[in-house]
Point group: C2
Chain length 356, copies 2
DNA sequence: TTGAAAGCGGTACCAG
DNA sequence: CTGGTACCGCTTTCAA
C-alpha cells in the first residue's frame, strides 16, 4: 500500500541541490542543461533529481529567460473544419519545434479577438498566429508587434500591416469559377458568405472586413463586370453566420422570382447548408441550380451529385504560418513575407449549364 | 544563431508605482485588483498605468499565486470533427470561466500523450482534460493527480483511475444498433475501428485500449452472442487509422466471399471512407450493404442515401468535462464523478434488410 | 568547475 | 489605507 502523499510543495532545484550536496546554481545548471558541470556532479544531481522526482517549473524558467515556449493562436471557430485542419498544421510544426500552442476562439468577433490577444500577450506567448476577423481594425495586432512578439496572419492578410502572412489566391480562384459559370450561361449567380455587415446588406467589397472573402468577392464582381453583368452586388449575400441563418437566406433567394441559377458558397459549412435547402425545396443540383463551394471538405465528394469545390491547401496554410513564426522566433529578421498558396478547382458534378 | 530575446523592456508595477508616486505594493494592489486602496491613489495609479501602457505579466503572477489560469487539453487529433467539436465545448466553458486552453495532439500515441502531460504539468496548467489513448497505461495520469492537478477524462474512462470522467453510453448504443441489424436479418456484421493492436488483429475486447471503443465492441459482441452468432470476433477489424488504411481494409472485406452485409463504423471519418469504397466498388447502400456510423457528422444527412448514425452529444461531452474541471479548480472536493451522456440512434436510410 | 547573490515581475504578510 | 520586504523557482552574472 504505497499511499503516496499529495506532493503539494513541489520539489525545487534547491531541494535537489541540497540532496546532492551541491549549490543551487550547480544543480540548476545540470537540471536546466546549460553551463558546464563535471560528470561526477552531474550524476549526483541527476540521481538526486530522480530520487526526489523533480519536475521543472517552466513558468519560473520563462520568468527569467523571457521565452515561454508557447505560441498563441486565434482563429474564428475551431469547430469549423477549415480551422481545425489549419490548426493541425500549426500544432504539428509547433510540436516539432518544441513549442506548445495556446488556442483561443474569437467567434469572428473583433472585440473577442482583441481580448484574446491581450490575454495571450499577458501570458507572454513567444509569438502569435491570428486569423483576423477584421482587416481594417488592426490596432491590437500592432500592439503585439510593438510588444516584440512576432505575428503571422493566417488566411487573411492586411495591407495596413507589415507582418508575415500566408493566404490562398482567393481572388484568382473566385475569378476562375465565376468565368466557368458565366461560360455555362449563368447570369444570376449568387455569392454567399458568413461575413456580415452592420445592416446585413452588401454594397461594395469594402464592406467586407475579412480579407480572404473580400478578395473572392472582388474577383467575382470583377469577372461579372467584364462579362457585362451589372448590379451583381445585389447577388452577394452576407450574414450566413450559422446554419440557421444560411437556411433562411438560401430559402429566401431560391424562392424569389429572379432566383439564382448558381450559388457560390464561401465555405463548406455554407455549401452544406445550401445543399440541404435544395433538397428540402425539391430543387435538383445541377439541373435547377449549380453549386460551387470553397473548401474541399471531406463530404463534398460523396454527395449526389458530388460538389465542385475550390480546394485550398488548408493544412499547408497552417503549417506554413507556423514555420514562418518559428523562423522569426529563431531570429529571422528579414522583411515580412507574404506567402500566397495556390488553390485548385476540383470539377465534380454540381455545375451544369444554366437552365433555360 | 542569434537568440535575440523577444524582450522589449516591458513596464512593470515598479515603473507604474514610481510614476504614480506610490509604493510598489500599493500600485500592485490596484493593478492586481486586490486589497484596499483609497480612490485618490487608485486613480493616480490607473492613470500612470495607462500613460505607461502597462501590460501585466501573467507569468509573474502565476509564479506567486500558483495558478496559471490555464487548462491543458490532450486529444487524439484536433482535425477529427469529433475532437474539434468537443474542443469547442471545452473552450467555450473555459473562456467563460476565465481560463485559457493549451492544446496538444497525441495522435493517439501513448508515448506522445505521456510527453504532452509532462509538458503541460511543467507549464503548471491548473488542470487537465485528457482523452487517453490507452486506458491500461495510466501512470502519467496518476502523476498529474499526484501533482495536485485536477484531471478529467474525456470520452474514455478508466476503471483504474479515480478521477472525473465524462463519456457516452457507447455500449448501450452499440447494443441497440446491433440488435436492429440482427432483427433485419443481418448475420455477417462487421465492426470497424481506428484502434489498433500490435498485430493488427482482433481477438478479444481487452485488446482494445480505447475505452469508448472497447465498450462498443463489448456491446456488439454481447448482442451477437445472445442472438446465437458465434465467432463474431473475426468480424471486428482494427487499424483503420487513416483513410488509406480504411480503404484497404474495407475493400478487402467487401471482396471476400463471406463479405459482410452490414458494417458498423466506429467514427465518422471511417464511415465516410466506407461510403466511398462502396461507391468505388459499385455496391449499393443499403441494398448490398447496410451502414451505421458512430458520430452524427454534418455530412451524414446529405448523402444518397443519408446514413443512419449514433448521435453522440459531442459538444456537451467537452462542455461537461470543462465544467467538471472548473468546479474542481474552484475547490470542489467531492468524490470523482462519472458522467454518462445519452446517445441516440438517428435512423436514416443506409440500413435495410439483409440481402438474401 | 563551482558558489554566492542579484534579479525576473508580481503577491502577500506585517507593521505603521 | 499604505509602505517595506520577504519570497515564488529558476537563470545568470561575477568571483573564487
Amino acid at each position: 500500500m504505497d499511499q503516496s502523499p499529495p506532493r503539494s510543495p513541489s520539489v525545487t532545484v534547491a531541494d535537489v541541490a541540497r540532496k546532492a550536496g551541491v549549490s543551487k546554481a550547480t544543480a540548476a545548471r545540470v537540471l536546466g542543461g546549460y553551463g558546464t558541470v563535471s560528470d561526477r556532479v552531474r550524476d549526483a544531481v541527476t540521481a538526486a533529481a530522480r530520487a526526489l522526482d523533480y519536475q521543472p517549473n517552466e513558468l519560473a524558467r520563462s520568468m527569467t529567460t523571457g521565452r515561454s515556449g508557447t505560441i498563441g493562436v486565434v482563429v474564428g471557430d475551431i469547430e469549423n473544419p477549415f480551422f481545425s485542419l489549419a490548426m493541425r498544421g500549426i500544432t504539428d510544426v509547433a510540436r516539432q519545434a518544441g513549442f506548445t500552442v495556446v488556442l483561443i476562439n474569437s467567434g469572428e468577433d473583433a472585440e473577442a479577438e482583441k481580448a484574446a490577444i491581450r490575454t495571450l500577450l499577458a501570458k507572454r506567448v513567444d509569438g502569435l498566429i491570428v486569423s483576423p476577423a477584421k482587416e481594417s481594425d488592426v490596432g491590437h495586432l500592432r500592439e503585439a508587434a510593438r510588444a516584440g512578439r512576432p505575428l503571422v496572419l493566417l488566411d487573411r492578410g492586411s495591407e495596413m500591416l507589415d507582418v508575415d502572412m500566408v493566404i490562398a489566391d482567393d481572388r484568382h480562384a473566385a475569378e476562375g469559377i465565376t468565368r466557368r459559370l458565366i461560360a455555362l450561361g449563368h447570369r444570376r449567380i449568387a455569392y454567399l458568405t458568413a461575413c456580415d455587415t452592420p445592416d446585413h446588406r452588401f454594397r461594395t467589397p469594402s464592406d467586407i472586413n475579412t480579407g480572404s472573402v473580400r478578395r473572392r468577392i472582388q474577383g467575382f464582381l470583377g469577372v461579372c463586370r467584364e462579362a457585362g453583368l451589372d448590379g451583381m452586388e445585389d447577388r452577394v449575400h452576407v450574414g450566413a453566420v450559422t446554419p440557421e441563418h444560411t437556411h433562411r437566406i438560401v430559402t429566401g433567394m431560391l424562392q424569389s422570382s429572379q432566383r439564382p441559377t448558381a450559388i457560390i458558397a464561401s465555405d463548406s459549412v455554407i455549401g452544406l447548408e445550401v445543399f440541404k435547402v435544395c433538397r428540402a425545396l425539391g430543387l435538383s443540383i445541377p439541373d435547377d441550380l449549380s453549386l460551387v463551394s470553397f473548401h474541399d471538405a471531406d463530404w463534398t465528394s460523396v454527395t449526389t451529385p458530388p460538389v465542385t469545390v475550390v480546394r485550398q491547401p488548408v493544412y499547408r496554410l497552417g503549417e506554413t504560418a507556423a514555420k514562418l513564426l518559428v523562423e522569426r522566433l529563431n531570429g529571422n529578421h528579414a522583411e515580412a513575407s507574404r506567402v500566397v498558396l495556390q488553390t485548385k478547382v476540383i470539377e465534380r458534378a454540381s455545375v451544369a449549364e444554366a437552365p433555360v
